[in-house]
Amino acid sequence: MASSEDDPTTQHDAQILSIDAGGTMTDTFLMDSNGEFTVGKAKTTPDDESRGFIKSSQDALEDWDLSVEEGFPDLVSTVYSGTAMLNRLVERESEVDVGILITGGMEDTLRMGRGRQSYTGYSYSDRLHVNTHKHPEPLIPRNRIRGVRERIDVKGNTLVPLYEDDVRDGVNDLLDQGVDHIVVMFLHSYKNGEHEHRTAEIAREIIDERGAETSVMLSSEYYPTLKESERLNTVTAEAFAAEPSRDQLSNIQEAVDEQGGNVGVRVMASHGGTIDINANELARTLISGPIGGMIGANYFGQKLDYNNLVCTDIGGTSFDMGIIIDNDWQIDYSPEMARLLLSLPMVNMESVGAGTGSYVRVNPTFDKIELGPESAGDQVGVSAVETDVETVTVTDCHVAMGWINPENFLGGDMPIDREVAEQEIKEQIADPLDMGVYEAAQGVIDILESKLRNDLEAVVTGEGYAPSNFKCLSYGGGGPVHTAGYTKDLGFDEVLIPEWAAGFSAFGCGAADYEYRYDQTTSIDIDPDLSMEEAAATAGEALTEVWTNLEQKVENEFENSNIGRDEIEFQYNILGQYQGQLNSIDIESPVGRVDSPEKLEQLLDTFEEGYRRQYSEEARSPELGHTITQASVRGVRDVVKPEIPTEELQGPEPPADAYKETREAYWDGEWLDTEIYDLHALQPGNELSGPAVLEGAATTYALPPDCETWLDEHRVHHLTTTE
């Protein structure tokens, strides 16, 4: 297995353990107090995930000659992320039965969903064509959804009182059907939760009377945000997919305890922090996106003083991009998971279905090379002779062109046959198009990289930003081989490639804060004709009250893990807009209370500054007044994080033992002698110019002829193009 250094005799204390239990494999990332890391793998054990967890940890610890019993007592931070929850959503199968009580007349909300749900998560061409749209299967069958007559309007006024007999009938009917959880979702309950709370009281009385074990979950308590379809999906997912995982997570905690670990297991959550396994809201750990890399990138930026980053991650199946501005990511408030729109805060990333494992095919209708959207994923390609992949992939093209050393793929763990790659490219791509093998392989790489370049440019400029204000950070196992290609001519300030690119996402999971975050939809108007005193006494008080309530929720979550208020650092956010606008912008408030004119003014000034930055000075319209559409509170508690290595700078000349060989590789139409280096043996300060290939344990960094790179003291490569 790959590790950051080769000398196994060094003493290691395993400090940070980050585990990712995927559908097939459980990956471990282990880091010691010196920032050295190693990784491990084991089969995922869905029946009892703790077995795969321990085996994978064991595999990693073996690299350091440690057993689990020896290694676990040193742990100070353990972060787990599993896919069991997401699988329940994807498969629409759960161990538990869920019933729903909903505002009468809205019983079909789940079934109707939203138009976007009929194509969300599909490939671009499938999104374009109506015949490939289909509404996803609802999570809960219609016979377990009961209507209750009541109505609260958008301002929180009661229009129709709660018909308590409807509640009793509904609860009794659902209990007759033997449900484990009753979810209650009434319209506009984020604004006024009285009816939901009264419903819970009645339901609990009946449950007690009947001696049932059923629990009641309210949308106004779990996810008090606008949009009933998303809110219902989310509370339902909490009951249907997340709750059943509590036992699994407890098993993992027990396994850690049994092996002498003295650390609370935390779970990665969509808002970019980790939360305790006893958290009330677990559904936010249903992460489908690769946000670990974004968290790692933000931490990396904070440590090394890079404020604005464009993060790019190429894996086997997808290219993921995200933006970090002033050391904070953007939040998507309505992400999609398992083809359902949820109302959870999730670190915003754009993802396109193109990666190193993407299938390459000739479209028979147009005689044109096409990539993906399907991919061989971790099966690599046809040249990986131990797998049964039959279609040429992007990696096969790199192998044919001599960029990737067949002997060194995944540190030699995956046997690669270059002749197979060449033969298959010839048959599948080159011959049908009447091209040479290498010309065809080059064509594939060009198509991929220009696609990635377009997508990347769209993500940055589409948000109104200029690439010159950003450093582009490239990671993921497949990143560095393409970095030069997809960043070419985009005009980034700098292009950075950390040496540990392949383990960067896991590094990010280890770098995640211990953080809870709560959001609530609001509609607090600050009218323009009010004096600041009047505004503070009305809107200011209202916002302060919402923040205080959210703060209390965060505090309660930390209390579950015996963490007191004095250890928590709070951060306050709003979504704000000028009155009458459709879209809001995300503002981090400089103050946690706005009940005095001075503090409210500080918040409004911050909003104006944010608006100016995102749009322009001319677009500001304070004369319209302001509306606060959402309030959020984040609570962070310090945890031990991975060290970023710092070493002394050496000269520009690479050490002799870093040079491996010179071999021919195909660059832009010609075969050139290319120097091959050991990525991990280079020293800080070293400078290299292309053509060169830097081979690491789990990644290959390709340096085309017109490029140069130098390694800084943090083992980060800076890639530049020579004019």
Binding site: D126, T132, N363
Partner: protein, 171 residues
């Protein structure tokens, strides 16, 4: 992408027995090279007559080759309508719903178009009385001729196969 799907898969496609993910995969992928011929074979096997199907024309309707080099539109019950480039609806049994009363037979109250603005025309096969097509048009609008297939171009340029012909009629 398979160059060709197994026969059973195509039968399931014709019978609408595929799971959504199977169907979705088929639609998203490049089209299998022999899809048309395979579907045609399945359809041919299911009708009781021997005239070779040239193309499926609509639900229950086909353009078939007749011995005297004619191409006619034929229902799966065996009823023959007209030449392939004529409008078969001219020969169909037609029921027109152009009154409140007629609409209410099939629509809930207040959920149907106003008869002065729109009428429903239902076309049935004279051979088997199957409902073949429904059009909704303004009263007085001519019969819509929906499809005039360019069979020669389709066979010569799209699938590059000879057009099926009927056995000459035995004497």
């Amino acid at each position: 992408m398979p160059e060709s799907y197994p026969r059973e898969h195509i039968e399931d496609l014709v019978d609408d027995n595929l799971e959504w993910n199977q169907l979705h995969d088929m639609m998203s992928d490049f089209k299998d090279a022999d899809r048309f011929q395979q579907v045609r074979d399945v359809l041919q096997e299911r009708v009781d007559w021997d005239d070779p199907i040239i193309i499926p024309y609509a639900d229950h309707l086909y353009v078939v080759a007749k011995p005297d080099n004619r191409w006619v539109i034929k229902c799966d019950c065996g009823h023959e309508f007209c030449e392939h480039d004529e409008n078969w609806k001219m020969d169909a049994l037609i029921n027109v719903r152009d009154s409140e009363e007629a609409y209410l037979e099939i629509y809930p109250e207040d959920m149907h178009p106003h008869p002065d603005y729109m009428e429903l025309r239902e076309f049935f096969c004279p051979g088997c009385n199957t409902l073949l097509e429904v059009t909704n048009v303004m009263p007085g609008y001519p019969l819509i001729h929906e499809f005039e297939p360019d069979i020669e171009t389709f066979y010569s340029e799209w699938i590059e196969e000879p057009i099926p012909t009927a056995e000459p009629e035995s004497a």
